[in-house]
């Protein structure tokens, strides 16, 4: 069963084609990466999956609902995290979680916040303003906000950008255990190939708004005759044929 179905998806900004005819589906319960260089169309695609950006044409079905027409039916079952979108800085972590819990209609909100505080170790800074946290603490808070409503679909834009390797590893581990516990679908855009190899079942390789290849990380590595996803990425980015020397 598919969590996401995308058909003939186009998005243009004036003369620029940011997304140029995407067709793909994402299996429920999987972790899928959107990979590609800067300007490949990953963030544009992610924004359209969230309903934040309207497509020029094409259809997007998320958790069985048409995302263009009925996004509000499905938004309570989704969530999103990005290091590039902040939570209100002047509000404390607890206040932010209370506000977003209200927006997502979380039942027994105080219990849920207590649960996340314990699991994500937020206790030390739960009453501190969100703007006064370190990058690692902010990531944990963003994660708590993203998991408040126990989403069936989690969309992540570069979830470990600007984190030290230890915190990044902890975050990846957390997503993995959340998925195992809930069977949620995770879609992420990332530039971190180690992360993709470790977390993802499926990879959509994008270039100039199109999907140029796809498969599991192991499949892609084998098909390109390379040792890692990073080398596969470079092959695609630099238009090298499979197995061609660098």
């Amino acid at each position: 069963m598919s969590a996401i179905e995308v058909q003939a998806l186009f998005k243009s900004f004036g003369p620029i084609k940011a997304v140029d005819g995407l067709d793909f589906s994402i299996k429920a319960g999987s972790t899928t990466a959107l990979l590609g260089g800067n300007g490949a169309g990953k963030t544009t695609t992610l924004s359209m999956l969230l309903g934040l950006l309207l497509p020029t044409s094409g259809s997007i079905t998320v958790l069985g609902e048409d995302m263009v027409r009925h996004r509000y039916r499905v938004l309570p079952r989704m969530n999103f995290s990005s290091p590039y979108v902040d939570l209100p800085h002047r509000l404390s972590v607890r206040q932010n979680l209370k506000v977003y819990g209200g927006l997502y209609g979380v039942e027994r909100l105080a219990d849920r916040i207590a649960e996340l505080t314990a699991e994500l170790e937020l206790g030390e800074f739960i009453d501190r303003p969100a703007g006064k946290l370190s990058a690692g603490q902010k990531t944990r808070v963003a994660l708590a906000k993203a998991l408040l409503n126990k989403p069936d679909l989690l969309l992540l834009d570069e979830p470990t950008a600007s984190l030290d390797p230890d915190t990044a590893d902890w975050v990846r581990g957390w997503f993995h255990s959340y998925q195992r516990a809930t069977g949620a679908t995770i879609v992420l855009a990332s530039h971190n190939m180690t992360e993709v190899e470790r977390m993802c079942d499926h990879v959509l390789m994008m270039k100039q708004g199109r999907i140029v290849d796809q498969g599991s990380p192991a499949d892609l590595i084998a098909r390109f005759g390379r040792a890692s996803m990073e080398e596969v990425f470079l092959d695609i980015a630099r238009d090298r044929r499979r197995g061609e020397e660098r």
Binding site: S47, L54, P88, R90, L103
Partner: protein, 265 residues
């Protein structure tokens, strides 16, 4: 069109947390209306001694400035609630939450009401011991005037928010300045008949002109002009619909352009 009181409450809570956490903000909200009232209080006292028109109705200028502040604060309350989301780069998270744009609008209007009461009420109370003038002696008409001017401020605040959403934070100063374009035409301190004949129809097309004429009718003649109230309400309905429509149109445009994810400072 569904409207969730829980989501609206959550948005109001978000702004109330900010107010609660910052006494300088609370002070600032009450400061300008109070200073304005004090200045116009002395002006009123001077004119009361030198103008038969002002002398006929004690405190007319103080009442006018307090009511003008209702409209100004109403506008600012809406625009600042929206600007706060842009300054904190929070619009992306809000846009992917189940919060509908019209619920965001209702929360902005609710916060505007709260901010206006916090801003204008202390000035109105201060006028009583300072100038022996109580705007509350207007009685029930005061509620009608307050409501009409507040709605006019809301319409303007929504239009300003739409412009900021469309043109970015470079347009944020409009929240403070745009409403003053209406001030000369609103007849705050003088009757509309003072304006040149060609300008009077323009003034009558604005709800505040009807409200301030109505206020003068109450103060000078002791009569509540229901015709003026009805026209103010009808015009307000049109302007509020236009303001809300403009905001929702700008919101839709931002979704087409992809402007919701990366707006901010």
């Amino acid at each position: 069109m569904s409207l969730s009181s829980r989501r609206i409450q959550a948005m109001c809570l978000r702004h109330l947390y900010i107010l609660k956490g910052s006494w300088p903000r609370l002070l600032e909200m009450a400061y300008w209306p109070a200073v304005n009232m004090v200045v116009w209080g002395f002006t009123n006292r001077f004119f009361a001694e030198h103008s038969t028109w002002v002398a006929q109705a004690g405190g007319i200028l103080i009442g006018a400035v307090l009511l003008w502040d209702v409209m100004f604060r109403g506008n600012l309350g809406v625009a600042l609630s929206f600007l706060e989301e842009m300054w904190s780069r929070n619009l992306g998270h809000l846009s992917v939450s189940p919060l509908r744009p019209h619920e965001l609008v209702v929360s902005m209007l609710t916060m505007s009401l709260i901010r206006t009461v916090i801003g204008v009420l202390p000035a109105a109370l201060l006028a009583i011991p300072l100038y022996h003038y109580s705007i509350f002696t207007l009685g029930l008409p005061l509620v009608a005037f307050w409501f009409c001017l507040m709605v006019s401020g809301w319409a303007m605040g929504l239009a300003v928010s739409a412009l900021v959403l469309r043109f970015g934070l470079g347009a944020e100063s409009l929240a403070w300045v745009l409403i003053f374009a209406m001030a000369p035409l609103a007849g705050i301190y003088y009757p509309i008949s003072t304006l040149p004949a060609w300008l009077q129809p323009v003034a009558w097309a604005l709800p505040p002109a009807h409200v301030f004429e109505g206020m003068r009718a109450v103060v000078f003649e002791g009569t509540m002009r229901l015709d003026l109230l009805a026209s103010a309400l009808a015009l307000n309905a049109v302007y509020l619909a236009l303001g809300a429509g403009l905001f929702l149109w700008a919101w839709h445009g931002a979704r087409v352009r992809g402007a919701l994810l990366n707006v901010g400072e």
